[in-house]
């Protein structure tokens, strides 16, 4: 029995302290408002301002630091000092440094607006320190005040605390008086939470005095009230109290029910805490998950950007590569084309050369062979001293040598022309004298064939040409004219200078002439050599080819007029004006 009473008392005090705490919560908001409003005038003091802010934020340590700083300043305003002591007292109380707190609170002067607040705080502290008489002293002081001075301090609270003090001092009459007073007030105010506490305390009071009949209704009241509220702690306490009461009454089934209820509330409280913690954890976890997701998305974004950039750059690089590849491919194609064209022209040239080579070697062979036969005859005739025949043979040899020389000369010049090695300079010259000089070589030949030669080119005709190539041209045409002339024929060289740009040099013979096809073949612009028609009289065609090339190089033109059996006119048009290139 004793044990259970003690336990009950313990719970009573437990509810009490909780009750004091809840009272605190309710009043703090009003109190804080008051603090805020009344201390606004001192906000220009930085340390005080900070102390006040930290106080309102319930940051007790910082409040202590800044109030200390404020207090250490000289020439303090009394009111600021009071505030500082108040803050320090409250803070120290919260930190359970009760003696220091009491010191600070007792320093507050009577004129201070929150003086009674400090006194009630002192009361609470002394109550908690179990200095009940001192506590009663403090509370009594407050009890005697009128409502205006209370500043939100509930009278019921003071009376309740007085009741508690007397209860602890075992002065049950006074305790009963004060507790019932506080209950009356609380019932007026419909303060359910306080009521539950007070009922509990009254019940405890009676229970202490073993007035079980009086106590039990209060316990039941408290218990019933606690059902209406949502405070688990209170529900738990009242349920426990009921359980203890039923136990003492030996009503175990009921006690068990209450006990179970108590357990349930206890568990639910724990559960609630747990749920709350779990929720908190879940929240944290969710936040973490979200954070992870966000960072994942960010990372993904980064990767995407990097990928996009990578793609972009690689595309550019590829494009560049493609461009260069195309460029080089085109270049290669171009080069290939050039090479192909060059190859074709080279092939053509090579074919020409081969053909030329075969023709020339054939010609040379027959010439030299003729010379060989002639020489054999010459030796024969020398042995028989047939002088007349000797003379004829020597003449024949000479003409063969001449022909061969001309062939070789043409060959040389043709080769030089092909390789562009020979000196070439176009200068002005008098055509007449060049013709004269060239004809000079053929005089014996013409005399031999009894050909009448006439050079009627005007001495005034001046043309522009390269001297050596012009000489080669003339030599070849004169040679041809003589070759294709019959005995007693005529060769006339004359000029026509009617055109503004060109002077026509005409080499006319009365020889065998040529067919239109031959003429066309001769004039054809081709590097290939014309075919031999008549092996005996027609040569390699090299001479004609050479002449055409050289006339072209001298900016001239070539034309042929011919009639079979009547003769041929070779018309060489030579430039009268100096041309560039």
């Amino acid at each position: 029995m004793k044990y259970s009473v003690k336990l009950l008392l313990l719970f009573g005090i437990l509810t009490n302290s909780l009750f004091v705490f809840s009272q605190n919560i309710e009043n703090t908001t009003i109190f804080e408002e008051e603090i805020k409003n009344r201390s606004r005038q001192f906000m220009d003091k930085p340390d005080f301002k900070k102390a006040q802010l930290f106080f309102l934020e319930k940051n007790w340590d910082s409040t202590l630091v800044y109030t200390m700083k404020q207090l250490s300043l000289p020439n303090q305003n009394q009111e600021i000092k009071n505030y500082c002591h108040l803050f320090r007292g409250f803070s120290l109380k919260e930190k359970k440094i009760f003696n220091q707190s009491r010191k600070e609170l007792s320093k507050i002067s009577k004129e201070f607006i929150f003086y009674y607040k400090a006194r009630i705080k002192l009361g609470e502290i002394t109550l908690e320190q179990k200095e009940f008489k001192q506590a009663i002293h403090y509370f009594k002081e407050i009890e005697e005040l009128n409502d205006n001075q209370l500043l939100g301090i509930k009278k019921s609270f003071v009376k309740h605390n007085l009741g508690l003090c007397y209860l602890h001092l075992k002065e049950f009459d006074k305790a009963e008086f004060y507790l019932l007073e506080s209950v009356k007030l609380q019932e007026k105010q419909k303060d359910t939470l306080d009521l539950i506490g007070s009922y509990g305390d009254i019940a405890t009071l009676y229970y202490e005095q073993y007035k079980d009949n009086l106590a039990i209704p209060y316990f039941e009241k408290a218990y019933n009230l606690s059902k209406k509220i949502n405070n688990h702690q209170l529900k738990q306490n009242t349920a426990l109290n009921m359980a203890v009461v039923e136990e003492n009454r030996k009503n175990f089934p009921k006690a068990l029910v209450y006990r179970k209820e108590f357990e349930q509330w206890k568990d639910s409280l724990n559960d609630q805490n747990k749920v709350w913690e779990v929720a908190q954890l879940e929240k944290q976890f969710a936040v973490k998950e979200k954070q992870k997701e966000v960072s994942l998305l960010q990372a993904e974004n980064k990767i995407k950007i990097a990928e996009r950039n990578g793609l972009f750059y690689s595309a550019i690089v590829l494009l560049l590569l493609l461009g260069t590849a195309i460029y080089f491919y085109r270049e290669k194609i171009k080069t290939n084309k050039i090479i192909l064209a060059q190859k074709e022209s080279l092939d053509e040239l090579n074919a020409t050369k081969d053909k030329l080579f075969s023709i020339v070697s054939h010609d040379l062979r027959s010439s030299v062979n003729a010379m060989k036969i002639s020489n054999a005859k010459l030796l024969e005739n020398l042995a028989t001293k047939n002088l007349e025949e000797l003379d004829a043979l020597l003449h024949q040899n000479s003409s063969i040598a001449n022909g061969t020389y001309n062939l070789l000369d043409n060959l040389l010049h043709w080769a030089l022309l092909q390789t562009k090695q020979s000196y070439f300079e176009i200068v002005s010259m008098r055509l007449h004298f060049i013709v004269e000089q060239m004809a000079y070589n053929y005089q014996p030949l013409m005399l031999d064939k009894k050909i009448q030669f006439e050079n009627t080119v005007s001495k005034k005709d001046i043309i522009f040409a390269d001297q050596e190539s012009l000489k080669i041209i003339l030599r070849n045409f004169l040679d041809n004219a003589i070759k294709f002339s019959k005995e007693n024929g005529n060769i006339k060289v004359y000029s026509e200078s009617n055109d503004e740009n060109y002077c026509n040099l005409i080499i006319e013979d009365s020889g065998i002439g040529m067919s239109e096809t031959t003429r066309n073949n001769l004039l054809k612009e081709t590097t290939l050599l014309s075919k031999k028609e008549n092996e005996k009289t027609i040569g390699t065609g090299l001479g004609m080819q050479l002449c055409k090339s050289m006339i072209q190089k001298n900016n001239g033109k070539l034309d042929i007029k011919s009639e079979l059996g009547k003769g041929t006119k070779i018309i060489v048009s030579l430039s009268k004006k100096e041309q560039n290139g």
Binding site: S422, Y423, R430, E436, Q437, Y440, N441
Partner: protein, 248 residues
């Protein structure tokens, strides 16, 4: 009229023989035949040479060009020259061309080509192009000589030997102590190219060598020259009296 003095630089005897034969047949005077650069220089400086015929290749190297370059840079000593060559090699020609004035003759050549080349070289050297081949003129004037085309060949007359020149239309009578001949040349060209401190015009038809004057008879408008030649002095050109140095 004198023959033209020719110096030949040719290393092949057969070719030089042919050359000499043709030249002599055309009244050219061969003053020397050299076969190398050194001999050629000696002959060139020791003889009165009017024209040089140079074979470009001497013993396989183009020494002929070197010789031409040498005589070309000697002031007052350079003479007309003709290159002989059997090659139309462009590089050789480009080098030879630098020895201006450049005339050349390609081997093998005939008589006409040779004579033509010599005439061309003289024309080019004295910068009086197109004289010998045209119909209007036949004389090239150098500082010392008149080069006159006579027939197929060239002749020369020492200008200092001329007593006076009589102009008749486009002909000029040249009178020297020994002979008298006609050349084709314009009066303006003579006046332009003759030394004007020696040759004075005395009449629209007469140009007189002042060094050949023996007597001036202003009253008769007459100038008497060496050899008893008499030339008219017209009023317009009487200033000559002041210019001629006379004993007083």
């Amino acid at each position: 009229m004198d023959n033209i003095n020719v110096l030949i630089l040719e290393d092949s005897p057969s070719e030089s023989d042919a050359l000499i034969k043709v030249l002599q047949a055309n009244n050219y005077n061969i003053v020397g035949l050299a076969t190398n650069h050194k001999d050629a220089l000696t002959l060139f400086y020791n003889n009165k040479v009017d024209i040089v015929i140079i074979d470009i290749f001497l013993n396989g190297s183009p020494d002929g060009i070197a010789f031409a370059e040498t005589i070309n840079v000697v002031p007052n000593a350079s003479k007309p020259f003709v290159f002989l060559t059997s090659s139309t090699d462009r590089q050789i020609f480009e080098r030879a061309k630098l020895t201006k004035p450049f005339s050349y003759l390609m081997k093998p050549f005939n008589e006409l080509e040779l004579l033509y080349a010599l005439e061309l070289a003289v024309e080019k050297f004295y910068a009086q192009n197109d004289v010998f081949l045209g119909d209007e003129e036949n004389t090239v004037i150098s500082e010392e000589y008149l080069f006159i085309k006579k027939g197929k060949s060239l002749k020369k007359v020492l200008i200092a030997d001329i007593i006076y020149i009589e102009v008749e239309e486009k002909y000029c009578n040249i009178i020297t102590e020994k002979e008298k001949f006609v050349i084709l040349i314009s009066l303006t060209k003579i006046l332009e190219l003759f030394d004007e401190t020696i040759f004075y015009r005395t009449h629209r038809n007469y140009i007189v060598n002042t060094k050949k004057i023996t007597e001036i008879v202003p009253s008769d408008n007459l100038i008497i020259l060496i050899g008893g030649h008499k030339v008219t002095l017209s009023e317009k050109y009487k200033d000559i009296i002041k210019k001629v140095r006379t004993l007083k």
